[in-house]
Amino acid sequence: MSEQKKQRPVTRMVPVQSKAIVPERDADKSPILECHHLGIDFGGLTAVNDFNLMVGRTEIAGLIGPNGAGKTTIFNLLTKVYQPTRGSILLDGADTSKMTTEQVNRAGIARTFQNIRLFNNLSVEDNVKLGLHNHIGYGMWGGVFRLPKYWKEEAHAHDSAMELLKIFDMEHLANAQAGSLPYGAQRRLEIVRALATNPSLLLLDEPAAGMNPSETAELMDNIVRIRDLFQIAVMLIEHDMNLVMGICEGICVLNFGQVIAKGSPDEIKSNPVVIEAYLGKKDKKKKKKEANDG
């Protein structure tokens, strides 16, 4: 037992060094995402209220908070799975309030899911090709009659899919059925599929859920690598504090649908309000006792 413990890889606490230019905190200049006073009610329940956030063009942003704080709800608002009750979302300066989910995707937001939602009965390559759906340039008739353009575009889609799979060294799995992949590979495939839609903002919903420490460390490297490679913004929900503190440049903390803190990892780590939200208030009696003892 003790031996096994020793062999376990140690999770990295130091931030992963980005090889690209350190992204300027351009949130103030021209953010890719702006949320203004965003809010949603479900019946009488206010799930998210007065949510304000700016995410820079190549920023890795973290969204954290206790369970039920409204983190996934915000992702659902950003992707228009839910329509906001109040407030506005601007993607690259453009208002998304009249857009549907697929239009928001075309405008540049892609996401993964907390519980993996791949197309399990399709092959790995086909999953990626579905991400490429809007970038395959033939219409219905081209497809029905198999015009020359169809063959050209399909070959092109195959190449693009393979190139994307190469990021995670998954090209040898291209013909495997997505549902039959091991858990970690399914998570990676979901990220590849989201990247295939050519996003400018990638939303990752608990990407490290169910991963062991060494897989998490690899994931951290990969998220930074994706950002550097594609020069996109990444926003992630995560409970693994090592990951969040390790790679996020800006962190937003939610509790009960309200933003309780925003800032750099160091600012968040030492913020008493955040500590309170996670660990609860210090007992008053205890405080008194401590004071007396002291």
């Binding site: 697929e102 579905l130 497809g143």
Partner: protein
């Protein structure tokens, strides 16, 4: 009727069921709903083809094409008006709406075209040298009508083309993606509404073809003509595993063959009872149908 005769006519009837069942199974697979109005689209297709041939004297092939086109439009219209507003409603509401649409189509046909039976013309004829009409081939003691041959060939061609279409190309893949997970498909930028409309269009177009083939074999056309083959084809789709395209093909063929054999060897009146008894037994042994996939819920 010899064994071979029965087998051939069974396969032919089964082919019609299979084509109709494809419509049920595709719509179920993608929109997760049972479109009970599907059988009545068959009837509308048959009427359109009938009038195109008798009143407007169009050549049969043009008549069939017109029927396919109009039924495609009808299918899309039904989906947009009746089903699309209920996309997030409970499935029971959609099911009842589908039954409503079915009655609407039947009664509209009753008003428009009267309840008097119409005799569907036989398109599948050749003229012998002496001018007499030939409706089939004589192969020794075996007599195979052209309708039977055409039906089987058309069914196999449709199956092959459809399977190829679903498995290749971006629209086919989009359809499979939508059938698995609508929300995830939306987040891939796939237009789910268009994809569902295309599915209805294909299903309804096939229904028109099935209508013409069915009417050529059983030429009495009344406004309720579509309901019986509709229900049988639905049974065939469940028999083969609803949602599965090869399942619809297999289920349709088996249902047709069982029905004709039951008619030939057991009793004409009891044939339907035999068919449904077999369905019940199959579902008891294999609840998802012959080729249906077991859905494993993750706990």
């Amino acid at each position: 009727m010899s064994f071979l005769d029965s087998l051939i006519s069974g396969i032919s009837l089964g082919s019609v069921y299979a084509i109709i069942a494809l419509g049920y199974t595709m719509v179920y697979g993608i929109a997760k709903m049972l479109n009970f109005a599907h059988g009545d689209v068959i009837m509308v297709g048959a009427y359109i083809c009938f009038f195109a041939a008798t009143r407007f004297n169009l050549p049969p092939l043009v008549g069939i094409l017109v029927a396919v086109l109009l039924c495609t439009v009808l299918g899309i219209t039904i989906e947009k008006l009746a089903y699309a507003p209920l996309r997030s409603a409970p499935s029971l509401a959609v099911l009842i709406t589908a039954i409503g649409v079915s009655y609407f189509l039947q009664n509209a046909a009753l008003l428009l075209w009267s309840p008097n039976p119409k005799v569907f013309p036989n398109f599948f004829l050749t003229h012998a040298a002496d001018g007499t009409e030939q409706t089939g081939l004589e192969l020794g003691s075996l007599r195979v009508s052209y309708v039977t041959l055409v039906t089987i060939v058309v069914c196999v061609v449709i199956m092959a083309v459809l399977t190829f279409f679903i498995n290749n190309g971006k629209l086919g893949k989009a359809m499979r993606a939508v059938s698995e997970d609508k929300d995830a498909a939306r987040l891939m930028g796939i237009n789910v509404n268009t994809t569902i409309s295309v599915t209805f269009a294909i299903g309804s177009g096939l229904a028109a073809i099935a209508g013409v083939l069915y009417m050529s074999a059983y030429p009495t056309l009344v406004p309720t003509t579509g309901s019986m083959p509709g229900i049988k084809a639905f049974t065939a789709a469940v028999f083969g595993g609803i949602g599965s395209i090869p399942g619809a093909f297999l289920g349709g063929l088996l249902l047709g063959v069982i029905e004709i054999f039951a008619k030939a060897y057991i009793s004409t009146q009891l044939s339907d009872a035999v068919v449904f008894a077999v369905l019940i037994i199959v579902l008891l042994v294999k609840p998802t149908g012959l080729l249906g996939k077991q859905i494993r819920e993750k706990v």
